[in-house]
């Protein structure tokens, strides 16, 4: 069963007072199954936060439909089963950590004893047990993020919507969050998260959607990708000229050559074995064998630069031009 369904959702924002519209989402469709962890990737301004806000009913979509737990739209019933961490953590500065969790628990109408026990265990889980009496205005950014994560878990939600949950966490915090997310996944929770830190996404997600131009451009199942047997391998050879061994048609090609060493790429392990034995037969030497792992990061960058004309790369060139203009 799908916990979350978006059907051709579109959303524009008025630019300035004179209603010229800036289209952010244009017919975005997405289904997330129960127990699935879905990662939403995309460049700054792609509309990840907007998508999440539309799902939660904070923004009204111009068109399309959001279905949560089989009901249309973000009803009270649906929202009580969702935990949300926004791109701003949204904390009252005059409260302390414990009070903020209390507030969240009361808004979810949890029983007082449930609030008490969850508050304590969650503060411990995010490493804020000692800071519970400290005012949030005196929290560091990472501590606020941790508290935001605790709030998102306060109602023991079935669906978690996390907008850049890893942001401003230290390396230890990142690893803890990874573990936390994996344990939630094991408990059968459904998670939708956005992030720019690709390895963190890779570590926990089953599926990844690349948001660009207002729709999900690509949806990748990481499970399927990693299950593929024919991962390419790079073999570095020295001592002989291995060019005669290259056979692009069968899947062995020369990628790189410098004095004394050649790098050949083989599609699949069988070809690699053949190549290595022929190199030794001819009196050559194998310096290195390196399996080429699928890199989500590279893939993401390729997709994004292909899809958007005003993505990160143009920004980089603009900055370069600026620096040039200043130095000359």
């Amino acid at each position: 069963m799908n916990v979350l369904e978006l059907d051709k959702v579109s959303k524009s924002f008025a630019k300035g007072l004179l209603g010229r519209k800036h289209r952010v989402l244009g017919g975005l469709s997405l289904q997330i199954e129960r127990g699935e962890v879905f990662g939403l990737l995309g460049h700054n301004g792609a509309g990840k936060t907007t998508t999440m806000r539309v799902i939660l009913g904070l923004l009204r979509p111009d068109g399309g439909e959001v279905t949560l737990f089989g009901d249309r739209g973000a009803t009270r019933r649906a929202l009580s089963r969702i935990g949300y961490l926004g791109d701003e953590t949204g904390l009252y500065p005059h409260l302390n950590g414990g009070e903020m969790l209390q507030f969240a628990g009361e808004l979810f109408r949890l029983a007082p004893h449930v609030i008490r026990s969850r508050r304590n265990s969650l503060l411990k889980a995010v490493g804020l047990a000692e800071k519970r009496e400290v005012k949030i205005s005196k929290y560091s950014k990472g501590m606020r993020q941790r508290l935001g994560i605790a709030i998102a878990l306060m109602n023991d939600p079935e669906l978690l919507i996390l907008d850049e949950p890893y942001s401003s966490l230290d390396p230890v915090g990142r690893r803890q969050l990874r573990k936390l997310l994996l344990s939630l996944k094991q408990k059968g929770k459904t998670i939708l998260l956005s992030s720019h830190i690709v390895p963190d996404v890779e570590a926990v997600c089953d599926r990844v959607g690349i948001l660009s131009g207002g729709t999900i451009q690509k949806c990748l199942s990481l499970k399927e990708i990693y299950a593929q047997k024919t991962t390419p391998v790079e073999v570095t050879v020295s001592g002989i000229d291995p060019r005669p061994l290259a056979d692009p048609v069968r899947g062995v090609s020369l990628v790189f050559q410098n004095p004394g060493a050649f790098v050949l790429r083989c599609e699949g392990r069988g070809l690699m074995k053949q190549l290595v034995s022929s190199v030794y037969e001819r009196g050559g030497d194998v310096l290195e064998i390196k399996p080429l792992k699928f890199s989500l990061e590279d893939y993401l960058l390729e997709t994004l630069t292909a899809a958007s004309a005003d993505g990160a790369d143009t920004l980089a060139t603009e900055i370069e031009e600026l620096i040039h203009a200043h130095s000359s």
Binding site: R53, L56, G57, L58, L59, R60, R76, R77, L79, S80, I82, Y84, G86, D87, E88, T89, G90, L91, Y92, P93, H94, L95, F103, A104, E106, L107, F108, R109, I151, N155
Partner: protein, 265 residues
């Protein structure tokens, strides 16, 4: 009507929001500043009033009741708008509305929290005012109590005005508009009277429209009757109460209606 059906008037989340709104106000500096200033004003009316021979008691009543009323309104405008804006700025509002809290709950909770806080402050001022009256041996009369009661009602109405403006404009503007409504509301009846006698047709239309759209706040002002210990008309308090409550409910209803269609970011 569906809004009302979906959310019982005293739903839990609204009360929770009201409670935490009050908690937020308690830490406000403005609250303390206004309280201190109000006290000082009342005390000074006691200290300085002997200068005006014979009019001492009248001055004490007038200044005291005016302080009770004006400082309540000032608190709503200064502190209430700040509270509404803080929720917008710090991403608190999305956090609240992503939980099972409807927008009606939020509007109601915010209103109740603000109104209760300011009413408590008003009552504190009234208490100090009674102290000043006792010290100066000024005689109490029934209209003084009515005046304090009507101030509380006026505060509710003005809080609803603030809630209305906050549902669609920026905090600064809603503060400003609320203050304008307060001032215009006190003069709308006078203005209509003036227009009837001296104004042209255009002016008459504007004044009449203003009179019917703006709350008629001069109804809530019975200070001169209190000062001179004049009797109020029969049924006056009852009909003003109904007027104030209805006006407040309509404004809250409109706030909820507008806020429900707004994007929250």
């Amino acid at each position: 009507m569906r809004i009302l059906a979906n959310s019982p008037m005293l739903s839990f989340p609204a009360m929770t929001i009201a409670r935490y709104t009050i908690k937020g106000y308690i830490k406000e500096r403005v609250l303390l500043a206004v309280l201190v200033f109000g006290f000082l004003l009342m005390i000074s009316s006691y200290v300085l009033s002997p200068l005006a021979v014979g009019a001492q008691q009248k001055i004490i009543i007038d200044v005291g009741l005016a302080s009770v009323s004006i400082f309540g309104i000032l608190l709503v405008v200064l502190m209430g708008a700040g509270s509404y804006s803080r929720e917008r700025d710090k991403g608190i509002l999305p956090g609240i509305l992503a939980k099972p809290v409807s927008r009606v709950d939020f509007v109601l909770g915010k209103f109740l929290g603000t109104w209760i806080t300011v009413t408590v402050v008003t009552l504190c001022m009234a208490l100090v005012f009674s102290g000043v009256m006792l010290m100066s041996r000024t005689a109490f009369n029934g209209t003084i109590f009515v005046s304090v009661y009507l101030s509380g009602l006026e505060v509710a109405l003005i809080t609803a005005v603030l809630s209305f403006f906050s549902s669609f404009t920026s905090p600064l503007l809603s503060s400003l508009f609320t203050l304008c409504v307060f001032i215009a509301g006190h003069f709308s009846a006078d203005l209509l009277e003036f227009a009837r006698h001296f104004g042209g047709t255009g002016f008459k239309i504007v004044a009449t429209a203003g009179y019917f759209v703006l709350p008629n706040l001069s109804l809530f002002n019975v200070r001169s009757e209190a000062v001179h210990n004049l009797p109020l008309m029969d049924g006056f308090v009852g009909s003003v109460t109904i007027y104030g409550v209805l006006y407040t409910i309509v404004l809250l209803f409109l706030s909820a209606l507008i806020f429900r269609r707004k994007d929250v970011t």
